[in-house]
């Protein structure tokens, strides 16, 4: 298994994913830089460019990411699982979009989960994956629930562009501008068997707390509530809407003629934004720890 920093260095420097995040980052103050060099990241955290120190931090980071109990690798496999399922679902929907006219492919169109409810479930799975990854990477910081909530808020603030991408690509574009307000109702109408239509669920089920689909569904509904509160504040503060997201994306990806839903499908099928920014977030936390331990 490759280490976290190796994964970081293998991230693309310029492709559709990078362009999509770059486009969206114009909506977020502070912007986004595509860090793909481990040495640059270490130098940034350590405030020093001494090659010997950087080598030590790197060696320590590799030791830490090899240790399974430390959870850095596990967080990455969570992101990978979500990414795989997003691509599979996106590809199917794309096929349904393109081939709606062909008789054979029409069958596929009937099979694809396009309903809002499933889209909402998909978003809640992503948020749950995000929280599980948070506890894998950071443990349970602090002594009280307040400390933990502060740590979670701090993490979300650091990953502002990542969160904006999650809100825009997985909520506002496919579900409309009232997505965050509607989400609670949509999740309320979700049935246990709906979960099994989500490719990501099979991969994540054993990592979710509780046993059985019922318990997992409760976890998803409850787990998304605190995030939802934060996300509503965040998106109203930045004034995020589907319209603005598409305009921002057009800045880097070129003009878009289709609907918002088609844009969401296109992004699902062809970009890895969730995984890309996820690897960068994990790598930063790992380097912060390694720098403190050398």
């Amino acid at each position: 298994m490759s280490s976290v920093l190796e994964r970081l260095e293998r991230l693309p420097r310029r492709n559709l994913t990078v362009l999509a995040i770059k486009g969206l980052s114009t909506l977020v103050p502070g912007g986004w830089t595509n860090i793909t060099r481990a040495d640059a990241l270490i130098g940034d955290v350590l405030g020093s460019s001494d090659p010997e120190l950087i080598r030590q931090v790197r060696a320590r980071a590799d030791v830490l990411s090899q240790a399974r109990h430390e959870g850095y690798g596990r967080a990455l496999s969570l992101y990978d699982a979500v990414n795989r399922s997003q691509k599979a679902a996106g590809g199917l929907r794309l096929l349904a979009n393109i081939g709606g006219a062909l008789p054979l492919v029409k069958r596929v169109a009937d099979l694809t989960p396009t309903s809002d409810r499933l889209q909402a479930a998909d978003l809640s799975l992503k948020v749950a994956a995000e929280m599980l990854a948070f506890t894998q990477v950071n443990g349970l910081p602090g002594d009280s629930f307040g400390d933990f909530a502060a740590a979670l808020g701090d993490y979300a603030g650091e990953a502002r562009v990542r969160m904006a991408a999650l809100i825009c690509f997985d909520a506002l574009l496919p579900l409309g501008d009232q997505a965050l307000q509607r989400l609670d109702g949509l999740l309320g109408g979700l049935h246990k068997r709906d979960l099994h239509q989500l490719p990501a669920y099979a991969g994540m089920a054993r990592l979710l707390p509780g046993r059985g689909d019922g318990a997992h569904l409760t976890f998803l509904r409850r787990g998304i509530a605190p995030w939802l509160g934060w996300a509503e504040g965040f998106s109203s503060q930045l004034g995020l809407t589907g319209q603005k997201a598409v305009q921002a994306l057009e800045g880097t990806l070129g003009p878009w003629q289709g609907s918002f839903k088609q844009m969401a499908t296109f992004l699902d099928a062809f970009t890895d934004t969730y995984q890309h920014t996820g690897v960068q977030a994990v790598a930063r936390r790992l380097v912060e720890r390694a720098a403190a331990e050398i």
Partner: protein, 165 residues
């Protein structure tokens, strides 16, 4: 020929099944490499024990805990949304090589050896076991400011910590 083929297919099946079982079944937790540097968890002080030893934030500063693992706890010192410094306590049991830099150190803080690492990091080794570190972020901190922060940790409490039996 058919007999050889049957044996071949059978053998292939057995080999692929055992490889598959090894890869897919949860045997991995039995293998070494689960913990940092293969040191058993019971020999490392839990990070939760470090939390209360961090300095109390002063004049408008804010302390936000960011990571807590076995043998490690880290917090950010923030001021008005900007991160001023990373503060961390770690148990060097899993990183014995971290001790060596303190051997040549002349400077002392409350009797414990102190080392500067690059332009923004200062480290202190308490009781030959716990490394306390301050790393300046953003605009950065002077060495005096970093040492002042180190002195505000509860170093006596830290020295009194023992590994769990």
């Amino acid at each position: 020929m058919a007999r050889a083929l049957r044996w071949g297919v059978g053998l292939l099946l057995v080999v692929s099944l055992s490889i598959g079982a090894f890869v897919l079944l949860p045997f991995r937790s039995w293998l070494p490499g689960g913990t940092v540097a293969d040191v058993p968890l019971s020999q490392v002080v839990n990070g939760a024990a470090f939390n209360r030893l961090f300095p109390e934030p002063q004049d408008g500063d804010q302390l936000v805990f960011t990571q807590e693992k076995r043998g490690f706890s880290e917090a950010r010192l923030k001021h008005g949304g900007q991160v001023k410094a990373l503060l961390a306590i770690s148990d060097v049991t899993t990183a014995p090589e971290a001790r060596s830099k303190f051997e040549a150190s002349e400077s002392r803080l409350q009797g414990w050896p102190l080392v500067e690492q690059g332009a923004q990091a200062t480290a202190l080794l308490v009781a030959d076991r716990f490394q306390v570190k301050v790393i300046g972020q953003g605009e950065g901190l002077d060495p005096e400011q970093r040492q002042d922060l180190l002195a505000r940790f509860n170093l006596r409490g830290l020295a009194a910590l023992q590994a769990p039996a």
